[in-house]
């Protein structure tokens, strides 16, 4: 009862959860254009996820599994459906999620048949990661919509994401956490699993007993996949930044309902992986461009961000592609031989940045 009164008061006064507030990019998240300075090593149609076996980088591009050796791409295998997530297990096996509805585990990337298949109860598996006990952890973003329909899930303010444990040895699927605001990205660390909760703009740590604690709250972005960083810590990608306009629309259910019913999804007031392609986009005019110059600090419809986190989950520095950039919609980042390889899904690019100069520049 008190909670309901509190919520009513918050909605009336615009406080607490009802405050239309977006944190700023400052401190370790201070904006720069590092992603725009990154080298493009490959352009492809539908890049989705990266994984490494310690020697090579593997790339999911639509239904194709590619191996990147010295920036050259070789097709390893082709699935009958698009790959939505990719991971290597500790024993060298490869796990691939297909359209989010099925996870296949192979003994090696080119093995002809999977030795384990998980398909029951999966809907939008968007990230996979190996756990220390030989199992896989997977994030299932939404119980209502598929992996590509994430904007609808956001606009309907759904909280149906799950963190799952998949055991290739037994074929068992265990739910570690549920009711998550679009779980998108996980990394097992010791007894806990670090999970990105995109719609709640935070990272949480889920313990084996299912208890959760918030490790990185109030992000100005929608966080996504995690990967290990050399020297401890993690790389966290964010596929889009928050904007006041979207936050405002998220407080207006009637408006959203009508918008989703009547407007082409391409032009919804919702985050996108790329923008600036059409005059029909909702953010226009002097908000974005003045005297022919796109303002980097304009409200972002699409954005690119990779955050270097320390072992405790605190940000050390960040790499940005701002509103005036093009390398937006960064959904995966993996280290290889001192370089950071990233997917900018918006323009369909695979990017490379050497890490040592970044560590030096940011004093990490």
């Amino acid at each position: 009862m008190i909670g309901a009164i509190q919520e009513f008061a918050n909605r009336l006064l615009g406080r607490g959860d009802a405050a239309i507030a977006v944190p700023t990019f400052d401190g370790a998240l201070k904006s720069n254009q590092k992603l725009e300075e990154a080298e493009t090593i490959l352009e492809c149609a539908a890049p989705e996820d990266l994984a490494t076996d310690g020697r090579s980088i593997y790339l999911a591009d639509g239904p194709r599994l590619l191996r990147l050796d010295r920036d050259q791409a070789t097709e390893v295998r082709r699935f009958d459906r698009p790959i939505s997530a990719l991971a290597f297990l500790a024993d060298g096996g490869l796990a691939a999620a297909l359209t989010g509805k099925e996870v296949q585990v192979f003994s090696e990337p080119s093995a002809p048949k999977p030795h384990a298949v998980f398909s029951t109860g999966l809907n939008a598996v968007n990230a996979l990661a190996p756990a220390l006990d030989g199992t896989l952890v997977a994030t299932d973003g939404s119980a209502a919509y598929g992996v590509e329909d994430w904007a609808r899930d956001l606009l309907e303010s759904r909280r149906t994401g799950r963190l799952l444990s998949l055991d290739p040895a037994t074929g068992a699927t265990t739910t570690l956490a549920s009711g998550l605001g679009f779980a998108f990205g996980a990394r097992a660390t010791g007894d806990e699993v670090l999970v990105s909760e995109s719609w709640k703009h935070r990272l949480i740590a889920v313990a084996r007993d299912g208890s959760t604690r918030i490790t990185l709250p109030h992000l100005p972005v929608y966080p996504s996949r995690l990967s290990p960083a050399t020297g401890g810590g993690h790389w966290l990608t964010a596929f889009v930044a928050r904007s006041l306009l979207v936050e405002f629309v998220l407080r207006e259910p009637a408006y959203r309902k009508r918008m989703m019913a009547e407007i082409d999804p391409q032009y919804w007031i919702a985050p996108r992986l790329r923008s600036g392609l059409s005059f029909k986009e909702p953010l226009q005019g002097a908000h974005i461009k003045t005297m022919g110059v796109v303002k980097p600090w304009a409200p972002p419809r699409s954005y690119g961000l990779v955050i270097r986190l320390d072992a405790s989950g605190a940000p050390l520095y960040s790499l940005h592609s701002r509103v005036d950039g093009t390398n937006h919609g960064v959904v995966a980042a993996v280290e290889r031989d001192g370089d950071l390889i990233m997917i900018a899904k918006g323009p369909g690019r695979i990017l490379k940045l050497p890490i040592a100069p970044l560590d030096r520049e940011f004093g990490a």
């Binding site: 006064l13 507030a21 990019f25 303002k295």
Partner: protein, 499 residues
């Protein structure tokens, strides 16, 4: 005496309590010239101009207007002689409208308000001033108040107009506009005396420059024969040009813990969804044009102003949500705000230095104190006068008797005595001489080195760039861009501030 001289002073001396504010100064103003008066605070510039405007009278010496010896006993008498003064702290009546202020002192037996507004509108339009005559002056920004002051002087058909720090509160665009206006007045044959601490302005605008130091004239010469270094040397007797704004930062302090977070702060119509953070051990510079909502944002943080009640945003101090409705709890929580308008908000001008600083200390006690100690007040005052090098006859000197720079030091001491964690300096060197600027800058740097979270709000770009470790650029009520001091350039900052 030449016909060319409209106003002159010879061996002008003014004593305050036996101490000379100006001492045997010779000064002459030619017809239709722009004459800049420069000097450190306490050099006697304001006193000299106040003598001309009839605000104070000379202790000894002679003043001549058009060759006739005269000693105006009041500003009204000076105005009748054709001498008008636009004060540094404007002298408008805040509760009256612009039009009423313009015609103040010229009222007739029967005044038709509509007629006054129409006349004011026509007059302001003739000067190309974008000021609404029906607006209440108290609601105007500093720049518009300045315009009203100038308009009033022009309206009174002054042949000599004296400006005391005319550009201190103006944006770069407004300054350019002001310069054009002054040149236009010059073309009409009006002689201009203006005091400025911005030496580039004096060099750009003036025909001749007079430098004062310690109440005495050092030199008067054509502006073309001066450069910045020569003026500074004449002003302070030492070369300070490289210790102020000349040196570009090569290192910045690393950010400490996040002390202040402001999220979507709103106070219509000035602050619009403003979000920013301030870190310990760093100087965060906040730049913006007039009306960018910088001062208002930090006044809300420090409880001087209130945010909007509905959807007003949130403030976190050390990660805890706070909402200060009055300044006292903010002071207790370790937030100090050093005001931009020291005369109105900074101190009690008739109280002593020690008393003013002691008041700052008392503000830390939420319920106040029943017993006050004169001894403690004097001890605290004396310590801070020494620590900040406040130059005064004694600790018991009234603040009104101090120069601008020393008054500013008292205002700063009043806040620092509270031992704050977050110190917000709003235009810390406005109306302050170059010598005191160096001291205040050193103090601000020292505070950041000690680990305090320091915010410096300034409209003067070189100051922001010289002091800040990170620079936030504010535009139309919110922070739009952040620069590290290492990457910032004046062009980048101005672009963000304007677009």
């Amino acid at each position: 005496m030449s016909d060319d001289i409209v106003l002159s002073l010879s061996k002008a001396t003014k004593l305050y309590a036996g101490v000379p504010a100006i001492d045997g100064v010779d000064f002459d103003l030619r017809r239709g010239e722009i004459h800049a008066l420069v000097g450190e605070n306490g050099a006697g510039k304001s006193t000299l101009t106040k003598v001309m405007a009839g605000v104070v009278t000379l202790t000894s010496g002679t003043m001549r207007v058009d060759g006739v010896p005269i000693s105006p006993q009041s500003p009204l008498e000076a105005r009748h002689l054709g001498i008008a003064m636009v004060f540094q702290e404007n002298s408008l009546v805040p509760t009256m409208t612009v039009a009423q202020n313009l015609f103040l002192g010229q009222e007739r037996f029967y005044n038709r308000l509509r007629g006054i507004y129409i006349a004011a509108q026509q007059f302001l339009q003739s000067l190309n001033f974008d000021v609404t005559p029906t607006a209440t002056v108290g609601a105007l920004g500093a720049a518009k108040k300045q315009m009203v002051e100038i308009a009033r002087a022009v309206l009174h058909k002054a042949k000599v107009i004296i400006f005391d720090e005319p550009t201190a509160s103006l944006t770069p665009e407004e300054k350019k506009y002001f310069f054009d206006l002054v040149r236009d007045l010059q073309k009409r044959g009006v002689s201009i005396v203006f005091i400025s601490h911005a030496l580039e302005e004096a060099l750009a605008l003036a025909d001749r420059i007079t430098v004062l130091r310690d109440g005495k004239k050092v030199v008067t010469d054509d502006a073309s024969k001066f450069d910045r270094a020569r003026i500074v040397q004449a002003m302070v007797g030492r070369d300070l040009s490289h210790t102020l704004y000349g040196v570009r930062k090569t290192t910045v302090r690393k950010a400490g813990s996040r002390v202040l977070v402001v999220q979507n702060l709103k106070m219509a119509p000035m602050v619009k969804n403003n979000s920013l953070s301030v870190f310990a051990g760093q100087i965060t510079g906040v730049f913006g044009l007039v009306g960018a909502g910088r001062t208002e944002t930090f006044k809300i943080v420090s409880g001087v102003l209130k945010r909007d009640f509905f959807y007003g945003g949130e403030i976190f101090l050390h990660d805890k949500p706070v909402r200060f409705r009055v300044p006292a709890p903010a002071v207790t929580a370790g937030v100090a705000y050093v005001t931009e308008d020291r005369k109105v908000e900074g101190f009690f001008e008739t109280a002593s230095i020690a008393r003013n600083i002691y008041l700052g200390l008392l503000a830390k006690f939420p319920g106040g104190r029943t017993l006050l100690s004169r001894k403690e007040a004097n001890a605290v005052g004396s310590d801070w006068v020494k620590a900040l090098n406040v130059r005064a006859i004694g600790d018991e000197a009234k603040v009104v008797e101090l120069s601008g720079g020393n008054q500013q030091k008292v205002v700063i001491a009043k806040s620092l005595v509270q031992d704050p964690e977050l110190i917000i300096f709003d235009e810390p060197t406005r109306g302050v001489d170059v010598g005191a600027i160096v001291e205040i800058h050193e103090l601000i740097n020292r505070l950041a080195d000690e680990g305090k979270a320091v915010v410096v709000i300034s409209s003067y770009l070189p100051e922001i760039m010289a002091l800040s470790d990170r620079i936030l650029v504010s535009r139309q009520g919110k922070v739009v861009e952040e620069f590290s001091a290492l990457e910032a350039t004046e062009e980048k900052i101005m672009y963000a501030a304007i677009h």
